[in-house]
Symmetry: C2
Subunit: 249 residues, 2 copies
Amino acid sequence: MGRSKADGVLDRLGRQVVEGRFPPGGRVPTEEELVRKLRISRPSVREGLKALVRKGMVESRARRGTIVLAKERWDLLDPDVLRWMAAAPPDYAFLMSLIELRSIMEPAAARLAAQRATPAQILAIERAFRGMADSLPDDVEACHRHDLAFHEGIFAASGNAMLYRFYTAISTVLLTLFRVSTEARESYERSLDEHGEVAAAIGRRQPEEAEQAMQRLLRGTVRDLEPAFRPRKDPKRNSKHNPKGGSKP
Amino acid sequence: MGRSKADGVLDRLGRQVVEGRFPPGGRVPTEEELVRKLRISRPSVREGLKALVRKGMVESRARRGTIVLAKERWDLLDPDVLRWMAAAPPDYAFLMSLIELRSIMEPAAARLAAQRATPAQILAIERAFRGMADSLPDDVEACHRHDLAFHEGIFAASGNAMLYRFYTAISTVLLTLFRVSTEARESYERSLDEHGEVAAAIGRRQPEEAEQAMQRLLRGTVRDLEPAFRPRKDPKRNSKHNPKGGSKP
């Protein structure tokens, strides 16, 4: 009981910090305020705040209360932090740094997968690719789910547990990235071909080819993402920046 | 108060699981047993166990109690898990997968650092390198501290907060790695030169050179580490595997 309430406090505050309601340097509500407002016990409030401290998002300061830390201090590999960032309006700098990190990790994961994948793992990657192809053009959300399974399959087949853990950390933000770039891109065929080439190279057990195919796929992600963040001249484009903004009064 | 006691339970159980006292598939003590044995309150015990669940190390199963999960399920980027692994006797497979991950991340971090480091960041990297050189051959522990600062400086200068977060996660195990490979290696001069070349390439802002110099440095780490894990024919070498074993009766 107390656990889920503490998780509720954590989740609520975490989201609010990520959405900028309490900006860095600012103060989050005190324990007293949270107890009153959320009508939950002080131990639960305290546990929730403590978890937020562990994630590097806030810090207790004597006589100043609990202060929001700069984004650089946040634990950017923590699944909760990434889930909150995934739910908040897309942040260009953050998504670009995520793609930069993927460009480092994923070509290497694809290379290792071509070397080490078991037959079952190769099948799983190929099945995920076929799932993407079969979902399009009608069911974009299903395509994203298969797309996640595709990348997860490659990290799993890399045979490095720490590398795989990296995938599980970023999987929630990856879905956001897929959504933003799908909305922005001209067509899906090219991206689908890029995935197909990665799967084929891993299936043929060609590490170099798999690495290079993944590099092309990720350059494609940047290509698809850029229109979503172009300077906001066109109000139609603009609505893609902030799904909650939009054109309605 | 309750907090530090829960942390104590977490720390004790986490260490014991990592050291293999409760092997995967086995059961950790029940809440009742822990309350009795450690003489702390049930909420503290429960909080400690809950934290261990969040780290993917154990799982509650109906009618079977709390079961230890396979190592692949552990959160291998969690600072606590890595700290426990760092304190346990070195595990060859784990250290090699760590080096594999470093071989993916660090050459890229060095390349980005050569592109983006501020003058102050370049100075910090050079200062850490000089610290290493000045500590040797007498003060090996001081050398390790400067070595950590050297690698931290490169990740910080990469300008990618997620990449830097990766460094903070692995920093505790990195120290273990330094200790094991220093004990095993023939001489420190070569490793020192390899660090110097990385620092120089970043200072000259040569991304390609920095990347390649870091690749050489990491191949050197593998070279230095291998003797520590060679098949145990020589009893003198053997003592390096397990510092707690050793030759004393």
